[in-house]
């Protein structure tokens, strides 16, 4: 039997002509009552917040688009984007290394993940920031004190921003490596066999067959990582980088409007998270193609229930 799209009223359409038995949909009076109560509670809480003078909404509005805040938000976005990109690429490499049949290669990856997940990010950030104290001159050369070429003073090369990017990216790579390893592991062995039987090997096999299928498993936790990263970048304020949160802090340190400025920062974080979640959903749909049982291109009729 063909399913009829359910209209927004939440009612089952009247019986199809010819069907002799009337269908009475199950009603949920308790659920409905509960929903009404919850909506009322939420609305009243919001109302209280909105009319409470002590939130200083006027201050919130006046700082929402302050240049310092906008620059901070931009910097937070850049830190997140760069660190996530490097983290994902390096994480993929580490995941593939970790799965390698070569025990030395997989041990190196294991060691990396162990170290970077096992030490606090804050410590790593401060370490990179102070690298000049340990290695005044950065150079490329042969190991064990062989000849080398100096590429510059660490003090000049490692600015607070590079230290922040290094710390965030290298740390993120360790987490992404584990997420991607899980994704690769979730792909059926038969897919490797089929691809190899068709003459694919190495990179083609990974990029065309395995990783696209791993994406389905990798994307949801990666979305979490991006959002944690977005907020986690506020740690870089220890390196005196004015990201979004730090910019807000600088302002309230002088005008003492702590809560309004934290609200300003939070609104921006919320906006960025919302946009990122939107893209995450799009990507999840893109990489879910061919896996969901539902036919493609047919939009699920929106039902009005339980909103």
């Amino acid at each position: 039997m063909q399913k009829q799209p359910v209209p927004d009223t939440g009612q089952i359409p009247s019986t199809v002509p010819g069907d002799s038995i009337e269908v009475v949909p199950l009603r949920h009076p308790v659920r409905l009552a509960l929903a009404v109560v919850l909506v009322l509670v939420a609305a009243s809480a919001l109302w209280d917040v909105a009319v409470n003078q002590r939130y200083h909404w006027d201050v919130v509005v006046s700082y929402l688009f302050a240049p310092q805040i906008l620059t901070g938000a931009g910097l937070t976005l850049v830190l997140t984007a760069v660190s996530m990109t490097v983290g994902v690429i390096l994480g993929t490499v580490l995941a593939i290394m970790r799965l390698s049949a070569n025990p030395i290669v997989s041990t190196i990856s294991r060691g990396y993940i162990w170290f970077f997940r096992g030490t606090p990010l804050l410590v790593q950030l401060i370490f990179w920031y102070n690298i000049a104290a340990l290695y005044p001159v950065l150079s490329l050369g042969l190991p064990f004190g062989g000849p080398s070429v100096a590429i510059g003073s660490a003090n000049v090369l490692i600015t607070p921003l590079t230290a922040a990017l290094l710390g965030l990216s290298l740390n993120e790579a360790a987490y992404m490596a584990e997420i991607i390893r899980g994704g690769i592991g979730s792909v059926d062995r038969g897919q490797h066999d089929a691809a190899r039987a068709l003459g694919m090997n190495g990179t083609t096999l990974m990029l065309r067959v395995i990783l696209p299928q791993a994406m389905r498993v990798v994307l949801p936790p990666t979305g979490n990582q991006v959002i944690s990263m977005l907020k986690g970048t506020s740690l870089v304020s220890v390196l005196a980088i004015s990201d979004l949160l730090y910019s807000a802090q600088i302002i309230y340190a002088t005008n003492y409007q702590t809560i309004p400025l934290l609200i300003v920062a939070s609104l921006w974080y919320l906006l960025m998270t919302t946009v990122l979640t939107f893209f995450q959903n799009k990507l999840e749909r893109r990489y879910g193609r061919g896996f969901d049982a539902a036919p493609r291109r047919v939009r699920r009729p929106r039902t009005g229930a339980a909103r």
């Binding site: 059926d188 038969g190 897919q191 066999d193 089929a194 691809a195 190899r196 039987a197 068709l198 003459g199 694919m200 090997n201 190495g202 083609t204 065309r208 067959v209 696209p212 299928q213 990489y287 193609r289 061919g290 896996f291 969901d292 049982a293 036919p295 493609r296």
Partner: protein, 254 residues
């Protein structure tokens, strides 16, 4: 090139300390169809995977189209091939799996076009046109834009056959191509395989479909415990088996 398509001489293969293939001797002539039968666990899949170098042979000689699989003869010695070379060599044979193993994230057409364009680096339009011909040939000309998930098992397996054929292999290997199918879908896959055999393709088929073996195959090979127990024309092996183990197996299957 003359000689047989597949020649196996004392092929051995172990996983860890258990020896699975204990010296397989087998010849598959060009243009012939061979069916491999035998109880589960007798090493049929493993042997098929060795032919395609999805598994490495430990000892003995295995050659496809006159070339030793996985090794290169230089200066009277066999040198193990590099991964890139084995990938090339794998192109001699197309393989069809019990569980189809289509790429679920690609449409039917993308499944077929992927390897010829990426591995053989052939132009996409040319390959697409050929893919359409292959789809018509397996009776699925109008399903090119479906995803594998949307097709029945029988349809998926026919696509898998088309995907393997798109690489223009000299030899087709089938590992129980119909055993994951609902009974009413078995026929459509066997029909495609029959027409392939009629077109002169060399085929090695692991199967429990003795009707197919009898009707289509030139040679039936009965394996048990990692060795070839008996082989010969279908009429001989299936209807008048000499070996006790063959008789016991056939009495259970029939």
């Amino acid at each position: 090139m003359s000689g047989a398509m597949v020649e196996a001489l004392g092929v051995r293969k172990s996983f860890g300390s258990t020896e699975i293939l204990k010296g397989i001797d087998l010849t598959v002539e060009r243009g012939s169809v061979t069916s491999l039968i035998g109880p589960s666990g007798s090493g049929k899949t493993t042997f098929l995977r060795c032919i395609n170098h999805l598994e490495k042979v430990d000892a003995g000689r295995l050659s496809v189209d006159g070339q030793t699989v996985g090794y290169e003869e230089r200066g009277g010695r066999l040198h193990e091939m590099k991964e890139r070379q084995t990938a090339r060599q794998r192109l001699n044979a197309g393989m069809v799996f019990q569980r189809f193993n289509l790429f679920p994230h690609m449409t039917v057409l993308e499944n077929i076009v992927e390897a010829p364009t990426r591995v053989l680096r052939r132009p996409r339009d040319e390959v697409s046109a050929e893919a359409q011909v292959l789809l018509d040939r397996v009776g699925l000309g109008n399903r090119g834009h479906s995803y594998p998930q949307e097709l029945s098992g029988g349809q998926q397996q026919r696509i898998a056959i088309a995907r393997a054929l798109a690489m223009k292999p000299k030899l087709m290997l089938f590992d129980e191509p119909t055993s994951a199918l609902d009974p009413e879908l078995v026929g459509e896959v066997l029909d495609v395989m029959k027409s392939l055999a009629e077109a002169g393709m060399t085929m090695v088929v692991v199967t429990h479909e003795l009707g197919f073996a009898r009707q289509v195959c030139d040679q039936v090979v009965f394996m048990d415990g990692g060795v070839v127990v008996e082989s010969g024309a279908p009429a001989d092996v299936l209807d008048a088996p000499k070996e006790e183990r063959t008789q016991a197996f056939l009495s259970k299957v029939l």
